[in-house]
Subunit: 203 residues, 2 copies
DNA sequence: CAAAAATTTTAATTGCAATTAAAATTTGAG
DNA sequence: CTCAAATTTTAATTGCAATTAAAATTTTTG
């Protein structure tokens, strides 16, 4: 039977399998769509039986929820590192973008695109939405910081945040693991997304 | 019984109901997620019974498919108008963005976010993907035109296109019909998304 | 190496939303 | 007003994937 949350936390075998499972699920959801992937599909990728998944999650809803939490966490991690490492507001934005896309296309992935948030249970949905809101707010704060320190031009902070986050969030829709493409994303995306933020050079 | 495609084309009652239905379905899919919306949900929005929907579509899969086609069509329409009206490459890009977001938040909407393309039947999926590819290609052509005529700076055309289209495609995730927000999108988005494209002024 | 705990499988069950068929109602044309 | 076609409803059915329980296997521990 599954053990308590406390025991799980220190148990690396269980934790590792769960993590493999979430990556497998994310892969399936991105490739075949949410409604198109059955638990059997996810299990097959792990060399397991569908019933085995229930040792790790209560149900399919929780599987999706955990996928989304995992995706949210890497965004949070990227944000945190950017705030620590960055100098100006603009620099922090660039770093956040670089860190986040690196993680998105890195070995820890894939991460599920969050298309089924509204279908989650109440508490789970609220949790994911709150993480999402916090992330957006943190990103907007970077933009505001940049405006204040002159590294970013005047702009509608909310809309600018929505635009950039949308471009990021959409990546799993078209990036399917091709390493060539991954390199391209890492090299180009931060610059492309931050290019519009610089103040006009006065001349 | 449902009539032939030919008859339907000229029949406005049928056509109008189908269109209302697709808008209702798009609304539900965006609000409650795909797996979270049943045909009953869609029917309720129309004051109908779930079984009535089968007069208009063969099954739920076709309902989704038609939603996606509708969304693709407005993108195509915006692109077409932009190519007609625009002057430079940059101008065409700006116009396309303006036209498309206007349509997205306009009275014809809402339009479904295309999160379940992989779950479509083979022919339907191919059709939607082909429309999608054609649209991307057309957009990239605008960028290339801009680079050629000097209105857009050198950049990775593919990645730039992916970034901008991602920002656009993600809008239905956070825009839920608030007219205030709609105005903001229309006013800000084209400028925000095109700001990074201009060549550096030499000084 | 034996026993206990953890993990996975086998084999049902089940529950819900999609779908269908036939009947009822509404609409529109003449 | 009438009749035929179009549209919707009522009332089942059904099919599939999610879920469950118990048994089997594997891993860990002392």
């Amino acid at each position: 039977m599954p053990r308590s949350a406390l025991e799980r936390a220190e148990d690396s075998r269980y934790q590792q399998q769960l993590d493999r499972m979430l990556a497998a699920a994310a892969h399936c959801f991105n490739q075949k769509g949410f409604s198109g992937t059955s638990l059997k599909d996810v299990a097959r990728r792990l060399g397991l039986t569908d019933a085995a998944l229930y040792y790790y999650v209560r149900n399919k809803e929780e599987l999706v929820y955990l996928c989304y939490v995992r995706a949210a966490e890497v965004g949070q991690e990227a944000m945190h590192r950017a705030v620590e490492d960055g100098t100006s507001g603009f620099d922090k934005v660039c770093r956040y973008l670089a860190y986040h896309v690196e993680l998105m296309v890195g070995e820890r992935g894939p991460f599920a695109i969050m298309s089924e948030i509204p279908a989650l249970d109440d508490e789970h949905r609220e949790d994911v939405l709150e993480r999402s809101r916090k992330h957006s707010t943190a990103f907007e704060a970077l933009i505001e910081e940049g405006i204040a320190d002159g590294s970013i031009r005047q702009c509608d902070v909310r809309m600018t945040g929505n635009a950039i986050m949308g471009a990021i969030n959409w990546i799993p829709k078209w990036y399917h693991g091709d390493p060539e493409v991954a390199r391209n994303i890492v090299e180009e995306f931060p610059a492309i997304l931050s290019a519009g933020l610089r103040p006009h050079p006065r001349n």
